[in-house]
């Protein structure tokens, strides 16, 4: 294992983003499988978490993944209208739109937040999307967290001292 691990670590210097992919079981996970059986090659940076439906994905889990240091996120479900569970992805679409708006507002680069749809027949699209997502995340570099100074500061000691001739 030593070799493999070293290899992986050596390469890390050139930034190997870690991307958490939440894929719905029925379409996008199947598309990922199809990409495999079609032997389409894509970067190894994604780590897939299989969920039954994008509707299952509580947006807090995405925040959690970023909190834990994911450089990028990919969420992919069935195309709108194709949901195995009738309309789960329509709800998911609103949740993710709001999540994206919030995170981008607070300074997360849009390149890290990737939401899309991929049907069970779209193995090629899946491979393309992974490549695209890896490129996007690489373009903004490693994720440093939600704050510029994430550390603890004593509450009292922060703030701006008002200059004045009080004494």
């Amino acid at each position: 294992m030593a070799t493999a691990q070293q290899e992986a670590q050596n390469k890390e210097e050139e930034f190997e983003p870690k991307i958490i992919a939440f894929l719905c079981n029925w379409c996008s996970y199947a598309a990922a499988d199809l990409a495999g059986s079609s032997r389409l090659q894509y970067p190894s940076n994604i780590r897939t978490i299989r969920i039954p439906c994008t509707g299952r994905l509580n947006p807090l889990l995405v925040i959690k993944a970023l909190d834990r240091g994911a450089d990028g996120i990919l969420v992919s479900g069935c195309h709108p209208g194709d949901c195995h569970y009738i309309d789960g992805n329509y709800y998911a679409r609103r949740r993710f739109t709001m999540l994206k708006e919030l995170l981008e507002f607070s300074g997360v680069e849009p390149e890290r937040l990737n939401f899309t749809w991929c049907s069970a027949a779209e193995g090629r699209r899946f491979a393309k999307i992974v490549k695209q997502v890896v490129d996007r995340v690489e373009s903004v570099g490693p994720w440093q967290g939600f704050l510029t100074e994430p550390g603890f500061a004593d509450g009292m000691e922060v703030g701006e001292i008002e200059d004045g001739e009080f004494l």
């Binding site: 493999a4 959690k64 194709d82 049907s119």
Partner: protein, 1026 residues
């Protein structure tokens, strides 16, 4: 055990029929001539009118059919002949050699790209190539390769043999021989499907001569992301993306020159689908549709058409194309057609798609003859419209396109209906049927044990091990906290490996298993069985996909793939450590059907269910049975309805298993699948009625067959002239003794179509009016040739064989004129004299007539009380207030609510024969539930933590299955485990995280996230160790 049923054809119709029968507990032999299940639907890209991805909705259905314990699938198998009687057929079958052992082949695909031979890919309509050894389609079921003997070098010339050398399973068998064998069957369902018309059927279109002329099935593959062009709409000649494309409707259909005068029924709507999807693929593409009549008569199709026309900018040109010639640039095509305004016109396109119709293959027609089943002149099964789905030979039933042109939902309906009929021959004892082995098995209690995870890493021959260093992964995995045992295995899916897993579980007392191999989508059931076999709860398994999403896609980066595999396993361990031993719950099921509505649909459904052996309670609000059908005098084929209806009513009344509640109104409906309760108001006058009189009936399923009603026209002087009647009133008139309206001095009869249908506030087609008008007009003309009859229509929608009726009507001299919806005929009345004025759009002439009788084709409306009923049933209506099916394609008789089925006009406009077929389907679907002593709930369902729940109702609002509801008394949400499908939408929306989804717990996903992102082993030791 009931006797088996043979289902011929593994397309969507066969799969549905086999699944329904299997769910009833009847053993099924499913025979498919190709190497994979799936049929035509598996080749389609999207499906109308929702543009659903075809594979996405079909694949789960195929898998569950193939894996069903009651289904035995024979691929590459054909039927030779059938001897015997219903209940005891001997079916002789022939299985062609696959040259690959189906048991041994794991579908690993090692051999596929090594084959030196290239042959045309049948699945992609010959537009791409694969080897002599190939998988019929990428998602083949069974997932097994096959060798095309005619091309194989080894078989033909005893050269090569590379696939045998490469195969690690010893699965290649060049010496395989054709096998003939006999199975016993109680009945047979024939669902052998269809062929698209050959592209050169209409020689003027130059198919094959012009490479850029393709058929619709070929176009499906072109549109498909997994097809020969990866979903790019490009031309075969130069690979250029298409900018200008034409679709030619009726390419071969409605054409006496091809001997196919029938309408193929589906081409109009699928061409609209093609047009819309082409528009999605290519921005600014010009799409022209050449058609004669747009026949979007199915449920929801008219809106689809309107959308294409009004918002998507698809051009519709009312003309048949006479011929296709080469265009001015190479590869371009020139179409010659007729313009409504200017006569002759010609237009050039980059690509032309022929909307080819449906026909039974010669093979189908031949084997029908071998089965001694009568076919009609077009080669389809000859079918009695009062006894749909039955063939001329008792015990043999047809479903799908063998019965005539039809779309997917109709085929699926056929299938469930045929299952209901075929099942009647197979059933021995209802109590014996289909009791699923619920939590029969006792599993080891592991809750109080220390967590001991077993990790099994599969080489999959070289599929994984060729890229990933499996042994290193195993070594490393052994060091993950909680891992008690790690092992690498050559092929985990082989049966001795399954035994090995069991042994290791016992040896090391393992209580969690991680299998690192291929995709859980196909292999999870296998490994779940294996660990259940060893006494471990099957939900304590986690699969990590290091092949399909590992070695196969990272071939160039073996180190990274190895590291990734390890990380995935580590995350799998983190996830499985919090897995709960889940169980499927059992819920009592009342073996009685509640049929609401005593019209043709309800009566027929009740009869079929009773014939299957299930008790039925039939509720009808009127005192008399028969419903809408009592006012029909003759069928569309012209046969009297009454004798058939009377016989049906008599059969139902006389059936010992059927209780009839005539004159009863429904007061309330409660419960859910397995346990529905109807509260009925008996026919006691209001004044003397008390609560004591209310009747309560219970059943496991409800069939909604409440019918529809005829629109009462407000226009065309209907309200103020006796000479203006509806088609239904005309039928009554025609059957009465003294015909008061169609008398001698009534010389001129006009009929107006689409009265109340296909208008802004009712944008659906009532489907049957065109054929009904044709039928009535022909009837009059045949009896009174002197009468001058004119039918004013917008599109003549004589789909299927009714096209013959249309031709007959024209032949008899009945006049046809079109009108436009924004320029409707005007009718005025002066005394007894009616004046009708309309503009004939082709000639632009204003025509004035003085009809003696004006017959209006009034729309079919949903019943006004549909809304009340739908609220009681908690099942939705569609935009037009008809009952909405669970899925427009694949669950056309199921409502969105489990255990509620739809039949007849309550579901949407349809003719009597279609109603009878659909009610049989409802019976078949109902039987698949009723036959179970218990209903099993899913194990991976949502669960509510009552402490956390705030009763905000978000979960209830997002649940598509009404499986979670706020209990107003207790102020908490409650999950109905029977209804829950485990989608987790409630879990995704819940703020206090009170709802969690078993199998996908928040804790599990968080652990997985944290472990996947752990920077190194030591960090993992911390997070993974807690």
């Amino acid at each position: 055990m009931p006797d088996p049923v043979v289902v011929v054809g593994g397309g969507i119709a066969g799969i549905q029929a086999a699944t329904d029968l299997a769910e009833m507990g009847i053993p099924v032999y499913l025979i498919e001539k190709s190497p994979s299940l799936g049929g035509r639907m598996a080749q389609l890209d999207k499906t109308f009118p929702t543009n659903d991805c075809s594979t996405c909705i079909l694949a789960p259905k195929i898998t569950s059919c193939y894996n069903h314990e009651n289904v035995t699938t024979y691929t590459m198998t054909e039927l030779i002949n059938v001897e015997g009687e219903p209940g005891n057929f001997r079916v002789r079958l022939k299985k062609r050699p696959r040259y690959v052992d189906e048991e041994k082949c794991t579908g690993c695909g090692d051999c596929l790209d090594k084959c030196p031979v290239s042959i045309s890919d049948e699945y992609n309509m010959g537009m791409s190539e694969y080897g002599a050894i190939h998988k019929y389609q990428p998602q083949a079921v069974p997932n097994v390769a096959a060798i095309d003997a005619s091309e194989c070098l080894k078989i033909n010339e005893d050269k090569c043999g590379v696939c045998e050398k490469i195969c690690n399973f010893d699965a290649i068998e060049y010496k395989q021989k054709e096998k003939k064998f006999v199975v016993q069957a109680a009945s047979i369902i024939y669902a052998a499907g269809y062929e698209g018309f050959s592209g050169d059927l209409v020689s003027d279109y130059g198919y094959k001569k012009h490479p850029n002329v393709v058929t619709s099935l070929e176009y499906e593959r072109i549109l498909n992301a997994a097809g020969p062009t990866d979903g790019h709409v490009i031309r075969q000649t130069d690979g250029e993306e298409v900018e200008n494309i034409a679709f030619i409707h009726c390419s071969g259909s409605r054409d006496r020159r091809t001997d196919k005068n029938y309408c193929s029924s589906v081409c109009c709507t699928y061409s609209i689908k093609h047009a819309l999807i082409t528009k999605e693929h290519i921005k600014d593409v010009n799409v022209d549709l050449y058609y004669m009549d747009i026949r979007t008569f199915g449920k929801g199709f008219e809106r689809y058409y309107n959308r294409a026309q009004e918002t998507e900018g698809v051009n519709f040109i009312r003309s048949r194309v006479s011929e296709i010639e080469p265009g001015s640039n190479p590869g371009d095509l020139k179409l010659k057609a007729t313009d409504d305004d200017n006569g002759y016109c010609e237009q050039e396109y980059d690509m032309v798609v022929l909307a080819s119709g449906l026909e039974p293959t010669q093979q189908v027609t031949d084997s029908l003859q071998k089965l001694k089943v009568r076919t009609n002149k077009y080669g389809f099964v000859d079918m009695d419209e009062f006894n749909p789905l039955s063939t001329s030979r008792p015990g043999i039933f047809g479903c799908g396109v063998v019965n005539g042109p039809r779309d997917i939902p109709e085929s699926v309906m056929d299938a469930s209906g045929a299952a209901a009929l075929a099942g009647q021959h197979a059933v021995l004892d209802v109590k014996d049927m289909g009791v699923e082995a619920a939590g029969d098995q006792e599993f080891r209690v592991t809750q109080n044990e220390r967590t001991r995870v077993g990790v099994f890493v599969c080489h999959c021959g070289t599929n994984i091990a060729g890229v990933i260093d499996v042994e290193e992964v195993k070594e490393k995995a052994a060091g993950i906290p909680f891992v008690e045992h790690a092992e690498d295995v050559k092929y985990l899916c082989s049966s001795d490996s399954q035994d090995l897993i069991g042994e290791r579980i016992k040896e090391h007392n393992l209580n969690r298993i991680v299998v690192a191999s291929c995709t859980p989508r196909t292999h999870e059931p296998l490994f779940m069985d294996a660990i259940a076999e060893a006494g471990l709860n099957p939900y304590l398994l986690e699969m990590t996909n290091i092949r399909d999403q590992g070695s196969w896609v990272h071939k160039e980066e073996p180190e990274k793939a190895t590291w990734k595999a390890f990380e995935l396993i580590r995350a799998g361990v983190a996830r499985v450590k919090n897995a709960l031993p889940l169980e499927r719950g059992e819920v009592d099921n009342i073996a009685r059907a509640l049929v609401v509505g005593g019209g043709a649909a309800g009566l027929n459904a009740a009869r079929e269910l009773a014939n299957l052996g299930f008790p039925v309670s039939l509720v009808e609000r009127e005192e008399e049975l028969g419903g809408h059908a009592t006012s029909l005098k003759h069928s569309l084929e012209g046969r009297p309805v009454k004798p058939h209806l009377d016989r049906l009513i008599a059969e139902v009344k006389g059936h010992e298993l059927i209780d009839i509640y005539a004159g009863h109104e429904i007061k309330d409906i409660t419960g859910f699948v397995g346990n529905y309760k109807l509260e009925l108001i008996p026919p006691v006058p209001k004044e003397v009625r008390s609560d004591k009189d209310l009747v309560e009936i219970e059943g496991g399923v409800v069939i909604v067959a409440t019918g529809g009603q005829e629109f009462e026209p407000l226009e065309y002087s209907y309200q103020d002239s006796e000479q203006v009647i509806t088609q239904l009133e005309l039928e009554e008139e025609l059957s009465s003794e003294n015909q008061s309206l169609v008398r001698d001095d009534c010389e001129e009869i006009y009929m107006i179509q689409c009265v109340g249908s296909r208008e802004e506030d009712r944008p659906y087609c009532s489907r049957i009016c065109c054929s009904q008008a044709l039928r009535n007009a022909v009837h009059i003309k045949e009896n009174h040739p002197d009468k001058d009859i004119t039918i004013l229509y917008r599109e003549m929608r004589s789909y299927g064989y009714y096209e013959d009726l249309y031709r007959k009507a024209r032949d008899l001299g009945i006049n046809f004129s079109r009108y436009e919806v924004d320029n409707k005929p005007e009718v005025s009345r002066k005394g007894d004299e009616l004046t009708l004025k309309y503009e004939e759009p082709l000639s632009g002439k204003m025509i004035t007539a003085k009809p003696d009788l004006l017959v209006l084709a009034a729309a079919i409306l949903p019943r006004e009380d549909n809304l009340t009923l739908s609220q009681m049933l908690k099942t939705p209506l569609n935009e037009d207030q008809f009952f909405l099916e669970a899925h427009v394609k694949l669950r056309p008789v199921d409502s969105a609510t489990d255990g509620i089925f739809l039949a007849g006009l309550a579901h949407g406009p349809k003719n009597l024969s279609e109603t009878l077929a659909q009610s049989r389907a409802a019976a078949g679907r109902a039987a698949s539930i009723l036959s179970k002593e218990y209903l099993l709930t899913q194990a991976t369902v949502a669960e509510v933590d009552e402490e956390l729940c705030i009763a905000c109702g978000d979960c209830e609002r997002v649940c598509a299955y009404k499986a979670i509801e706020v209990n107003e008394e207790e102020n908490v949400a409650e999950v109905n485990r029977v209804l829950c499908k485990g989608c987790g939408n409630c879990t995704g929306v819940c703020r206090p995280h009170a709802v969690d989804l078993n199998g996908f717990l928040n804790q599990q996903i968080i652990d997985e996230i944290e472990t996947l992102l752990a920077k190194d082993d030591s960090e993992f030791a911390k997070t993974g160790g807690v």
